[in-house]
Symmetry: C2
Subunit: 330 residues, 2 copies
């Protein structure tokens, strides 16, 4: 990324400025292309983020997580309708930590959101994994900042599957919804407890099914015993008749107002986003320097010497680091 930025900085910056400008004026193709650049960690992505980042900081990032089959996509589709009923545009970033090959579920989920396909104020996008989970979180935060800067006041971050990526994304959302379907068995409560720890609100979906209120009651009891203060609310929704969806949006908006009143930069999620971005970019730049150093004839000679056991790898590493320190700064 760095060499490209250096050697063709002019065209890249002009292209990025053009994309950023068009995206801000409502050009959805330009916005989609910007998010692809971010997935690819291109020089254009960096130039565009440098332009757009100061314009962001207003959107409320709502993480939506929970086990497969809990009804996350259906809930988000209902919430999209509720946000649109208030006249606001809304965006969804679906974070898929799995490979493209096994990512069938998320494509099916996208189809379910097609209720909103004709509405240009609804923007839905999947972020695919390029490498490790940390990189996915960094790219998702950058994508959310772009959506923020171009004027989406609410951005849903949907995570698929369970595991580290979910917890990472939850840590950087302003508000995290943990979604549960009714009738969970007693035996899975221990697993759920870990996910509940990251919840700002817990949503029991499929509220028209028997057992939904019982599940909500159980969850309230679990949360009550686990946390004395800052206990997340448990809400029940039903996508079939829309019950509870407006109330859920009101709770989300209420939290956004409360966080906003505390002032930007004062809360954990914003700092977590800042840290993830800063660490991701620093690691990427230093990695680029290592790659440059590794391509030198000196490093090749060191590798041959290590392979022949003429030098130990620690002594060789010291020489490479000295060379990296002497590399012109990017």
């Amino acid at each position: 990324m760095e060499p490209a930025a250096t050697t063709r900085a002019g065209p890249v910056v002009a292209d990025a400025a053009d994309l950023a400008d068009r995206a801000r004026r409502g050009d959805r193709r330009a916005l989609a292309r910007l998010l692809t650049e971010i997935e690819n960690r291109s020089a254009t992505a960096e130039a565009a983020l440098r332009i757009l980042y100061p314009l962001a900081g207003r959107a409320h990032l709502v993480g939506v997580t929970g086990p497969p089959g809990a009804g996350k996509s259906t809930l988000i589709s209902a919430l999209i309708g509720a946000v649109r009923a208030t006249g606001r545009p809304v965006a969804v970033l679906a974070v898929d930590p799995s490979s493209p090959i096994t990512g069938g579920a998320i494509l099916g989920d996208r189809v379910r959101m097609m209720d909103h396909a004709g509405d240009r104020d609804v923007f839905i996008r999947s972020m695919a994994s390029r490498g490790h989970a940390g990189g996915l979180a960094t790219a998702t935060i950058a994508a959310a900042a772009v959506l923020d800067a171009v004027g989406f006041p609410v951005v849903f971050l949907e995570t698929v599957g369970t595991g580290q990526a979910e917890v990472e994304v939850a840590a950087v959302a302003d508000t995290t919804l943990v979604v549960e379907a009714p009738d969970m068995g007693d035996d899975v409560q221990a697993i759920k407890a870990g996910l509940l720890e990251v919840a700002d609100m817990v949503v029991v979906t499929k509220g028209d099914r028997p057992g939904a209120d019982r599940t909500a009651g159980r969850l309230r009891a679990m949360l009550g015993s686990a946390q004395a203060t800052g206990r997340p609310d448990v809400l029940v929704t039903a996508a079939t008749n829309g019950a509870g969806v407006r109330e859920l949006l009101a709770a989300i908006d209420g939290r956004a107002a409360a966080l906003g009143a505390r002032g930007a930069g004062s809360d954990g999620a914003r700092l977590a986003r800042a840290r993830a971005q800063l660490e991701g970019i620093v690691a990427e730049r230093i990695q680029a320097r290592i790659l440059v150093a590794a391509r030198t004839a000196e490093t090749e000679a060191l590798l041959r010497a290590i392979a022949a056991h003429q030098i130990d790898p620690y002594a060789a590493a010291d020489q490479v680091i000295a060379a990296i320190d002497g590399t012109p700064r990017v």
Copy 2:
């Protein structure tokens, strides 16, 4: 690791020198402790490797990989017996990329190797994953160098499961055996093809079962069409009566002699090991610097400024990297 090495360098080096000396004289407890230090990436591990690395470079590293149930551990147990029959000591490193919780299979496999439990010239050790797969490969290579330095002429590297870790470990073995059980279905051949690419030899186990020769024939046909030159041999073994095991060891020893005649440092596996070690150590040292820089008050102020959208994360990253460049060298 670095601060520890700096502040108590004397005791650490003395401890490492003592462990290395005892391990070279045949003290298996000292050897086991050295490998634990390597898993933990401790300052003692670095000091010991600096002592032992120049003494290594003689062992033949034999990777053994293949799908679960192919009979890898049973084959290695038979090969251990064949090596011991020639009077040489032998070591096994079992590389387990899974977590300790799901690593039950490998413990069961270790039990099967207990045939050799009373023989102090047979050393068997599991290397657990600490973090990502690349780190595991680096630690495994360092462990192999220690076994090499203390006098094991043959080291088997057994990998469990399928995936990236297997391919990584195969890349750093001098000789890679891909193990298959008879009667594989036609439908799995496409998956196997990827694994066959890393094979120096293909071993069909359970050769006393019907279908073993047919499987060997199929594999020869697949390999024949895939690669014109350097085609790996397909051998058939049977653990029940030991058929084919001595022939397999003869083929392995023949390859070791051929590689040795070409001269140290001239072949791909040795260079791959050198590269994995060098890159691992360089990345670890630079990561330590980043962590030091991230703890400063200046970085905390930058994080708050990013969170408040007063600075973009790229500009902030440039400042952090400038600070890292100014950090006293470790």
